[in-house]
Amino acid sequence: MRSALVHAPIDVSALIAEVSGARNGAIVVFLGTVREVNDGRAVTGIDYRAYEAMAERELAAIAGEAAERWGSPDVVVEHRLGALTLGEVSVAIVAAHPRRAPAFEVGRFVIEELKRRVPVWKLEHYVDGTREWVGSTAIGPEASGVGRGPLGESR
């Protein structure tokens, strides 16, 4: 397994090659891409920033947890940082496994945990020239979020 933050376009074919092998019967690829509309606002691009040292640590932990839980070391995840334009790949997860069901489960687990735990932020740029940190609109006492936090607590 391998994980990385990258500052250049992600080479998905290289990631697939990395986990390919006769031991596996399934490879699932998840790509996150920059969408043109968010919350009804027209987006022109997204600047991805991170607390890099911690983000690398959390990504590696997630890949390790997936490999252990599903018994396959063949999972790679790369998250891109910097300025991305519409349609570009911001995150790629490639999970290979002898069986297809666990391959899908690994891909889902990695993206959901990444979105919950990895300290990466999006600065969205809009058509009208404004920009905003995603998720920061409700900055305030009620803004600690919903669902399960990084410590596993109810929030």
């Binding site: 996150g32 991805y48 920033r49 991170a50 607390y51 040292a53 911690m54 983000a55 640590r57 998250h79 911001s90 995150v91 993206i111 990444l114 979105k115 919950r116 735990r117 990895v118 300290p119 990466v120 932020w121 999006k122 600065l123 940190w133 995603v134 998720g135 920061s136 900055i139 305030g140 006492p141 009620e142 803004a143 600690s144 979020g145 936090g149 990084p150 410590l151």
Partner: protein
Amino acid sequence: MTLTVLLFASYADALGTSSLALQLPAEARVSDLVAQVRALPGAEGLPLAPLVAVNQRYARSDQRLSAGDEVALIPPVAGG
């Protein structure tokens, strides 16, 4: 003890800096550090209990801090 606190994204914008040097009593807890940060100009909009990482791991509010710890306030994450 003096601790450096890293700020990111909306929190860095709110406080106008990406790092703070705070003076804290020995045996201070994460919640003490948060209270100091929240008292700074610009911090009015921060959550009462923002996520905090100590030495690059998420920390609970009652965790004790030590000199040399790397502390970071973590805004709601938005990767993917």
